[in-house]
Assembly symmetry: C2
Homo-oligomer: 397 residues x 2
């Protein structure tokens, strides 16, 4: 198993070790309790863990105030009812965008306690948005009454690939000003909290299987279509990072052998035919201002023939790239996110057509395609989920 | 975790269940013992399992004759030395080809005890090769002196996709006569042994990380270039089957938008530009007999300009498809197998050029590319490995 880029250099250790197993079992009990209070015997049945293990973990979680217990009776016998003390463990999720910033506070029950988003100038340096994030977080804590000592960690999403070996943003990021930046070290120093960093598309994928309607799906791809095109993978139920942490780069699949030059240095990449940047270029010729993604959505709904044609061509190209992906990994679901998600079936239909045209029949028929229901919040919510999946919730206070 | 298509309908059960955990721990101890005999204390240190767990598992394995123990001393104290009783558990690996059949018997130490391959007529029905396999197995058992009760299971590789939901060979197989065939049920009935079935490219991948030089690699792709082109994936250390069992179908990535019609029904698939079938077609125009893969290899080594050009074009196309794969999953290694593996650098060089041309720079630089060293044995050896990874080695006798 590959660990998420995280604040400790020790990594998650041996996946079969006692501590890794304890953490996994803790998570299973917390997940079981998200459905509501349960007795220790019920938890044992639901998780398949022995009653002794459940009892030990409940004691540790109780000491950390993550759960509370009270005596009850079950089938006439004395028992201990356990309930989640949701607000005792809070995760911060930060979505760093090219021109926006979003911060959410979420509790263990995956409820949003506070949230704020703001615009940032295009081309801003990393330090500007980190300072903004620190200020927004302070404000949200003050407003919501969440105590700093209840924060188990901070998750941060970056719109660019991250080399997990060095913890730096890699060439090819949508944020060129951030390339080479030691995002993890800087955030930890400024926030004084454990930090977990990931690519925004990976967090989109994680949000779909934790917060979203695809909860528990084993193999899912989240495709973010925006100024760039990137994807995040959930494989065997967990985010997948491959060898160096850079995965899901479908924006750089070659679609047109001798097409436009891409910012990655290749030619005819999917991004050069289907990103909002190229759509805007195609639709704004001779106009003083480029068309924004929001305008593309509005005009498509209003029936603009040019906008619909550009979306159809882009959708087919995305579908072709997704056909290759589906042939390779056969996911249950592919979710489309990003600023065009509001287009719904207008964009989904050509993507589906491209997918079915280019996938092996059985694979095409068995790969579900959906628009993200989480909208602009997907990445920040995924960043909060990243914290709960990686932080040590029983040892934060 | 997705289970391999296997003989019991119960599946592997809850991956966190006691029995799944016991099996996993058994495998870890058997793997540790493959390096040589060890004391229980040493096994505990090497596996991270408690001494009590090691002691319990050693007892179970000893009862099943999988290991043998003898008293020894360690640091002046009495200890129990455990060694693998390799031949107590034998796996049968069968590679069913379009015109060949190969059967191997392998022991727990991954040593080949007996092996036989034979030619079969092109277009033969499934029953013909199953009967041949049964006869070859009987002969190998008789010759090698391996006792039938020591066989823990039979692994079988099929050159076509298998729908894991129904256990049938799917449309698109290189063996059209096998489509819709209930391969698993037929083999079990004829052999009277537990059977595990998989696609041949998946078994090629498994052989590389068990028998091959890439032992222990976490993320690997094995690409078989033959009359068709298919790939097998190792993800997070295990074969990856996705949603329906059909993965690694890179032969049907679109390379030429309006290219030749492929047997899958699409156009311009990688198979239509880089399989040995199309190479042979291109190189045999006007010849009474099509050029065989062996002849392609010979003529390339002899410096035939036409053969080298065809290989160069095919290699570039394969590399382009691999670039998209590497961008998506960033594997440590991609291994090229099949009947052209003997070409070595002649084929590897254009593939590498295509990969570097089409992958994101960081991903291209960090994806190793190699020819398979296992040759024509890769699939049968992988089939034997499939048995050891899935059969219950402590409960076969």
């Amino acid at each position: 198993m590959v660990s998420t880029l995280r604040s400790t250099t020790s990594g998650t250790g041996n996946p079969g070790s006692q501590s890794a197993l304890r953490k996994l079992n803790e998570q299973r009990i917390v997940e079981a309790l998200m459905a509501g209070p349960a007795t220790q015997a019920e938890l044992s049945r639901q998780t398949g863990l022995s009653t002794a293990t459940v009892s030990n973990i409940v004691k540790v979680l109780c000491d950390a105030s993550v759960v509370a217990t009270e005596p009850t009776t079950s089938s006439g016998r004395r028992a201990l009812s356990v309930r989640l003390n949701s607000n005792s463990a809070v995760a911060v999720g930060i979505d760093f965008g090219r021109r926006h910033l979003r911060v959410v506070l979420a509790n263990l029950a995956y409820e949003v306690l506070a949230e704020e988003s703001m615009m940032l100038p295009l081309g801003h340096q990393a330090d500007v948005s980190i300072t903004a994030a620190v200020n927004v977080l302070d404000r949200l804590l003050a407003e919501s009454g969440v105590r700093r000592e209840h924060i188990v960690g901070v998750g941060a999403g970056i719109p660019g690939p991250i080399d997990h070996r060095t913890g730096t943003v890699v060439q090819g990021a949508i944020l060129p000003e951030w390339v080479g930046f030691q995002i993890l070290a800087h955030l930890e120093e400024r926030l004084g909290l454990p930090v977990f960093v990931d690519n925004d598309a990976n967090l989109g994928a994680l949000s779909e299987v934790t917060w979203g309607p695809h909860n528990g799906v084993e193999n899912l791809m989240f495709v973010k279509i925006g100024s760039g095109i990137g994807a995040g993978l959930i494989i065997n139920g967990a985010p997948f990072y491959g060898h160096v942490g850079v995965t899901g780069e479908i924006g750089h699949s070659t679609i047109v052998e001798h097409g436009l030059v891409c910012r990655c240095g290749n030619r005819g990449c999917l991004e050069t035919v289907a990103s909002t940047t190229i759509m805007s270029e195609l639709l704004s010729r001779g106009q003083p201002e480029p068309m924004t993604p929001d305008e593309i959505v509005q005009r498509a709904h209003a029936g603009s023939a040019a906008v619909l044609r550009v979306l159809d061509d882009a959708g087919l190209a995305v579908g072709r790239a997704l056909g290759a992906v589906a042939n390779l990994i056969s996911p249950e679901v592919i979710v489309i996110g990003g600023p065009l998600a509001g287009l719904g079936e207008i964009l989904l239909e050509p993507i589906r057509r491209g997918l079915l045209r280019h996938a092996v029949p059985l694979v095409g028929e068995t790969t579900a395609l959906a628009m993200s229901a989480l909208g602009a919040r997907a990445e920040a919510l995924g960043a909060a989920a990243l914290v709960f999946q990686n932080a040590d919730i029983s040892h934060h206070s």
